[in-house]
């Protein structure tokens, strides 16, 4: 009885657009759903540092090196905001990291694809950050307060990333024939995985209905995907690059593009751990975490000693 009342007032709040705060009552299923999404999102920011960090030491100019360093640093910062948002639900960062390392927690499967050439850094900024923005702009109004506030800070930086990625692609596509080829090849490899970033079609997405009812999400996967295609296809045209989809066609009636179906079998396969880089991403993460153990222990021991000294004094 009490629970039913709680649930009613919870849903009323959601419907009125009042944000849910950590101390508020919430259904356990809502809490789990939001926590899973925030943690996935946080881990994506962190794992995403690897494919991009892959080119920092080889960036072709000083300016590009600095921009890329700043970008990867931003992503680390996003991870930090999001871990804090997750911590507001009563989990610790150690628990979250443990879930990542043991494979219990997922991250965006896009980061299981390799960055093979410099053009991939352009394509990732343009397409992956571009797709992320679609999602994140919506999430600025997500119903869980700490998550929404983290998103507001993050969105400001993401649009820079997208522009910088597009700028890399512009320079390459206006460059030598080899550079242009590099840009096209990157688009070919990143296009479909980027479309998959929005998740499976709504009718097959097990969590979509609840996410919409609770206003965790405000738009469906397909809607966001469509918007991304509409926005990105003209940008590819500006670059003089060809989107690798033979079904791509303007549809005047819906004022949007018709496009092909992503390879959802590949998507499922990558999510379940068989993408080109799943093993490496997690192994790297575990490796640096282990390598850092003695440093964390030293910092803790030092803080404890300082604390003791200040109490004694």
């Amino acid at each position: 009885m009490e629970n039913a009342l709680n649930e009613k007032s919870f849903q009323d709040k959601i419907d009125e657009g009042i944000s849910i705060e950590p101390k508020d009552w919430m259904p356990e299923t809502y809490r789990k759903h939001v926590l899973r999404q925030i943690s996935q999102h946080a881990h994506s920011e962190i794992i995403g540092m690897q494919p991009e960090g892959n080119w920092i030491t080889r960036a072709p100019s000083l300016r590009r090196k600095m921009v890329l360093l700043a970008k990867v640093q931003d992503e680390a910062g996003h991870g930090l905001y999001l871990y804090s948002a997750a911590e507001s639900m009563g989990v610790t960062r150690d628990e979250l990291l443990d879930q990542l390392h043991t494979g219990k927690a997922k991250y965006s499967s896009i980061f299981n694809y390799p960055t093979l050439t410099w053009a991939d850094i352009g394509a990732v900024g343009w397409l992956v950050d571009g797709a992320a923005i679609m999602n994140q702009v919506m999430l600025q109004r997500t119903s869980y307060g700490p998550y929404a506030r983290a998103m507001v800070r993050i969105c400001k930086e993401e649009s820079f990333h997208q522009r910088q990625g597009f700028e890399i692609m512009t320079v390459l596509s206006e460059g030598s024939s080899e550079q242009k080829e590099m840009a096209q090849d990157a688009l070919n490899r990143w296009w479909w995985p980027s479309l998959m970033m929005f998740g499976p079609p709504d009718e097959e997405s097990p969590n979509s209905a609840n996410a919409l009812k609770w206003k965790i999400k405000r738009e469906g996967n397909d809607e966001l995907r469509q918007r991304f295609v509409n926005q990105t296809v003209p940008q590819a045209a500006i670059l003089g690059l060809k989107v690798p989809d033979t079904d791509l066609k303007w549809n005047e009636a819906k004022k949007g593009y018709d496009f092909g179906t992503p390879n959802w079998a590949e998507f499922k396969n990558v999510i379940s751990g068989n993408g080109p880089c799943n093993k490496e991403r997690i192994a790297n993460k575990i490796h640096s975490h282990k390598e850092g153990a003695w440093v964390r222990e030293a910092a803790e021991a030092y803080a404890a000693k300082k604390n003791k000294a200040s109490i004694a004094a």
Binding site: I46, M49, Q50, G53, I56, T57, R58, A59, P60, S61, L62, R63, R64, K65, M66, L69, A70, V72, Q73, A76, G77, G79, L80, Y83, W118, I168, V171, E174, G175, S176, E178, Q179, N284, S288, E291, G292, A293, W294, V295, R296, E297, A298, A299, E300, A301, Y302, K305
Partner: protein
Amino acid sequence: MTTQEALFNYCLRLADNHLILGHRLSELCSKGPVLEEDIACTNISLDLIGQANALLQYAASIENNGRNEDDLAFLRHERHFYNSLLSEQPNRDFAFTMVKQFLIDAFNYYLFDELKKSKDLTISALTTKGHKEITYHLRHSSTWIDRLGLGTDESNLRTQNAINELWRFTDDMFVMDEVDKMLITDGIATDLNIIKTKWQNTVNGAFEKANLKIPEKVWMQYGSKQGKHTEHLGFLLAEMQHLHRAYPGVKW
């Protein structure tokens, strides 16, 4: 050697020190012991490369021979790099990285503080701006020396090992030659013996406080000012320059 040539060379030394140290630190991006430290190190790396960029731009304008900052960073060969031997040493573990950062941060801190007074207005402006960032870098690495030295037995041991291994490259930072002499006379450069005294005081103080020792009877290695490096620099440059060199003359 003309003053212009000396100044060009001097700028390369300052720039290369920052570029190579910043590059080494950038290798650690996404590999930090905790996320906050990852962010801090990336930030410092970014500062250093940013300062190197400005110094190389100035070097290019002094040379006035059609080369720009990227030509100087990506198309010079190993024997024409003048960064200190210490800056190019590999990271190995966090203790190595922090000891290296600390020893160089302390050097840069006093050097840039003196160069603020340089009669060369660009050097004065760049080092004035740079000194603010380096002040933060030194605070960061000093804090870690303290933490690691006094933290656990393991962290003390690792840090002591790093000091023992890296100490032989420290004297190389203070070598002076014709370039320095010429520019000191003109009030542009600074006497590194003065820097050395201050540096020693800071390093001694920090190590003593953190229960760390400076190794005795270490045979010092020299050569960076003549572009004679350790074998590590070649690999660093191979990685850093490969893409730029693979597509000559294009824009990025």
